[in-house]
Symmetry: D2
Subunit: 365 residues, 4 copies
């Protein structure tokens, strides 16, 4: 491969196809030769934890930095559940479909429920949990022991604060913890329609992770357990799951950078506030601004939007002619083939999306 | 923490306490904004695989880049073993002691055997395997299904080519595969006493990993399976174990750099060859050169060497007075308290060990 | 408890609420003080295996006697699947719902498919397997590695020979084995509508079990693997699953008795054949004869049949008045509450159903 | 096989080579056609639980009837341990050696400790547990979460009340539960040297099982959890482990019989008490009386006792001539071949050992 040749096509295929935000790499360079202890007990990781706790308004939270999403899900879910319990998830949930059976490999059933645009609702969850306890044979069945949702979902949709509050109340009424997968959380937080902020997640959930891999880091997900010691011996469980980084600081430095303020960033310029946004916020904002511009252009140019997605993913339904034309000029993501022969394509923006590339994309559309 | 203040003490505590070799960081910078596909199917990872295959003289090998050692061990071992099988390991093996029960969590027994300075020998392995088949009750017992050794071992010792060959023959006589954990392999390969090279490992073993985390990478271990498709569907098993990096290229770029030649390096100057050493070799050489100089100084100054270790770890037995004096000036690693009250300390060199720091250390000793 | 008092109500609640067929107990008495070796290697078990092989026309079959259905399912399924595979089952399958997550506890996903009266069809299975291979992300997903069906199903329905043949062909086209849960197989074999006999199962399936617990034994299920060594080291896997009886003969004697001929039985009297039926056949016939008489009476008396079930279970939909009246006189089984407020009740016959009790029941209806 | 032919040799090979004590079979006959509910919720099982609680002086105990020893061990141990914990056992413990890796298949390490004649001592356990907590790396290691011992042990030896009390105190000092495998408990309880009675086990242990399979039942082990709800949702865990009998009463009736008094038995005649012994006690007494007579004869005739075993197993070391002579006349059990070429043979008595057979055996010796 000749990596000096610029890619021939504009790239809007996904949000984890580049390296890391340049500020992260710069920080890794600056700190590279310092000596620290291992396994996440270093000062960078500690500083990152402090910053995450502050952003979540959760001073007692336990915060752990894991490597990837499937790993975080399997480790957290397997650590919370007791052997007789399973985890409730949407049929389309990442743990239900695209983690190669990691939850089951850990010994637990994924209890799948119907979804609406990737979302569960409180009533469906209530019926599932209450239905278990009402069933005369429930002692022969898997007990719902955790609820898993994603924010944004697999479809890029968002739970409103009202929806999330209802789900949280339903869970806790039954003493079932709630866990939120935030693989693309930066893009949810920055969305204009979003009203669920980090302190809300910390208040309403028992565990969640703040995604790094898809939000500007080389890798890494910050698992937040708002109540201290909610999962006893979680460090050992992380180790047992092969999820403990020897050089824990490499994740810590990345999250320390993501949760530091970025003076002079574009995002901050818009606000009258004297506070600069966190890098994690600025990254989300960049992707959302780009997505909003593209969405507007799509509507204007008469594209069929496959389903509403307010975050950094846009889904359009195209016929073969359109498909060929777009794919000649753009790197997009194939989503699915419809029964009528048309195709759903995904346009995805990210921290790395360049404003001038958005201009060019809009021109092409 | 004030990371601009130089550490007060000389640092010889371990080999995974800094970031990465500067050439790796540089390469991550250069490639940062290029777009690639995910999950290790990118060009950098492919190029790294090609280089690893070449270094191992194993053109058909499957090569996968995982994140850490416990993860690599659990994924490889769990993928090779059938449910009725366990893995043979030294009592002191990493999988036996310091992986929080990851192998058992995957459903398999670690069958521990006595060791000599961290090493198993072919006869002990033979007795274990043959003993299983000779036992009238063996159908009620766990079948040895894999042999796990480390090169270098937990004690920094090395298997000779003759020893490894015998172990390999013993294993294969019984149709039991052989797996080698090479977490610190660079330091073994560079050792003067070593006669086991990468092509030997590829020829004698069924699976091994080339350690990156402790040998100059930010993280990463290259799992090598010399025979193509030795583990069917290994990609899915990696995913299931939470060991699949979305941005696979981050590991790929690191190994591509580690297995590229380093023109003008110190190590190459010593050789008359026109080939420059691979970065992975240069890293090992730096640590071994430093360790050799320190070892000579220790002997000269009358220190008690706890046990012979030819690689990048040195173990000395000291009384409390010596211990206090050394620990005031140096960051070393506590190994164990002896029954006689004295202490075994470990001095560890690495890719990051500076020659002038070795001078200062020798002065202090 | 006063076990000498006859139960006040007629008992049609289930088929595993008595001890064993008297011929089984008699045989356990006769053989009680003989000494045999353990773990199913005794002569009774060997004789039982021979008789089962003969009945299945499968001279090379491996036959193992396990204790119960959940145990048999978990042991067989967990032994056939590789770690990256899951088992396809109907949403209503026993392994999907009423085994407390035993399959997942063994590390495997149950891939649930929609059913029709408890049955899967070949097209649904084909779409699931082909869909997996067609999915661009299938390497991130659980591979279908086995198909599980029940004969009779959870709803008491039966696969026809044509249906089973199609399913078998679909499975084997994709190299996916087929496993049949025969917990109530005696009642399927004896059914007039049934055209799937034991040799058909042995020819079309890769594994199945012949139920004993619900078909006249104290306990016990005969796992049949028509092709020798289809599951290597299955004995050890049985042991590991806690499914190996020390006094294996207790299961062996029961199946030896079930698969021996019963001279002078009622069933044989009907036939012109000079062969007497096997006890397993006679048991099934008794239950089916009773069920047929009850079904005819239900129809005659205008009961609403909830859904057609040709075997030993009958489902009727009743209003509260009917329900109260019946439950005052009979022990039936509550099945489910319908949205319209009515109730589905199950009437179940068995080897133990007495002809005079059927008369009384019909009178009451 | 012709089961009417008396075996040619006297049978002293094992204690699970016949059916069941005749009183058990008789009771199964008497109750055979009664209807009861399933899964151990029937009146026979309830009555058996009451009798076991009374014999253990543990009115709040949860009592469950499982099928076999490996199953009971795997289910109890896997239900008590948390994922980061392992179980301490003697190197020679049944769970360490002869259960085909069932504990590891459930995800947990067996932490093996050296033994003395099959027994652990409190100091060894203390060192293991304290050593874990003292180890600087203990968070990377498996936490001891349960202690497993057998009474009698694999070698037929017994813990004294003093020894068991010390072990119990050591465990509970560290909040580690204690579990006792009583596969041959009847033979321990009846032993003259024994001072550990059922109420002692209930007082000192957190879980134990009273063996049925080797002590006169067709099958079955009574798991006793002295403190109510010590294992939450244990019923579901039993189901998940495939250990739940549909016809639970078959186990219940056996234990109800074993824990009922036997008027007029030989054992009772010796006592001045007006209480008749429980069948479980009488069974133990028969085996111990026989073993005591055989042991005395062995000593008198100059046999070399391999090691002292006070219960129903006797171990003698013989040369090839002796071995051939004995094996021609007797069914004994091969134990092991010694380095000096001689053989250790086991003579085993049981509930089924006939007094006149003991006379004949002594004559032969």
């Amino acid at each position: 491969m000749n990596q000096n040749t610029a890619p021939a096509k504009l790239f809007f295929a996904s949000d984890y196809m580049e390296g890391a935000h340049p500020l992260i790499l710069q920080r890794l360079m600056e700190t590279n030769l310092l000596h620290t202890v291992g396994y996440g007990t270093d000062e960078f990781s500690e500083s990152a934890r402090t910053k995450v706790r502050k952003a979540c308004n959760a001073p007692d939270a336990d915060v752990y930095f894991l490597v990837g999403g499937t790993q975080a899900n399997a480790t957290v879910i397997g650590s919370i559940l007791r052997p007789y319990q399973g985890v409730i998830a949407a049929e389309t949930g990442h743990v239900s479909t695209h983690e190669a059976g990691a939850i089951e490999a850990g010994g637990h059933k994924v209890i799948t429920l119907p979804h609406k645009n990737g979302k569960l609702d409180a009533d469906t969850i209530e019926r599932c949990i209450q239905g278990y306890w009402d069933d005369a044979n429930h002692e022969h069945m898997v007990m719902p022991g955790l609820v898993y949702i994603s924010q944004p979902t697999e479809f890029g949709t968002l739970y409103s604060l009202e929806e999330l509050t209802k789900i949280s109340e339903t869970c806790h009424k039954h003493d079932v913890p709630l866990y939120v997968d935030g693989a693309r959380l930066a893009y949810g937080l920055a969305c204009r329609q979003n009203d669920v902020m980090l302190p809300d997640l910390a208040r309403l959930c028992d565990a969640f992770y703040i995604g790094g891999t898809k939000c500007g880091a080389l890798f890494g997900e910050a698992v937040v357990l708002p109540r201290h010691d909610f999962i006893p011996h979680f460090f050992t469980l992380i180790k047992q799951n092969g999820a403990l980084l020897a050089k824990g600081r490499i994740a810590g430095i990345q999250f320390e950078t993501l949760f530091s303020e970025v003076p002079g960033s574009a995002a901050s310029a818009d606000s009258a506030s004297e506070n600069f946004p966190l890098l994690y916020e600025a990254i989300g904002q960049n992707a959302i601004d780009a997505a909003d511009r593209i969405r507007a252009a799509l509507v204007e140019k008469g594209y069929e939007i496959s389903f509403e997605c307010p975050t950094n993913q846009l889904f359009i339904t195209v016929d073969d002619t359109q498909k060929e034309r777009l794919e000649a000029l753009l790197e997009l993501s194939f989503w699915e083939k419809l029964p009528d022969g048309r195709t759903v394509l995904r346009i995805c923006t990210s921290w790395a999306t360049d404003s001038s590339d958005v201009d060019k994309l809009i021109e092409i559309l």
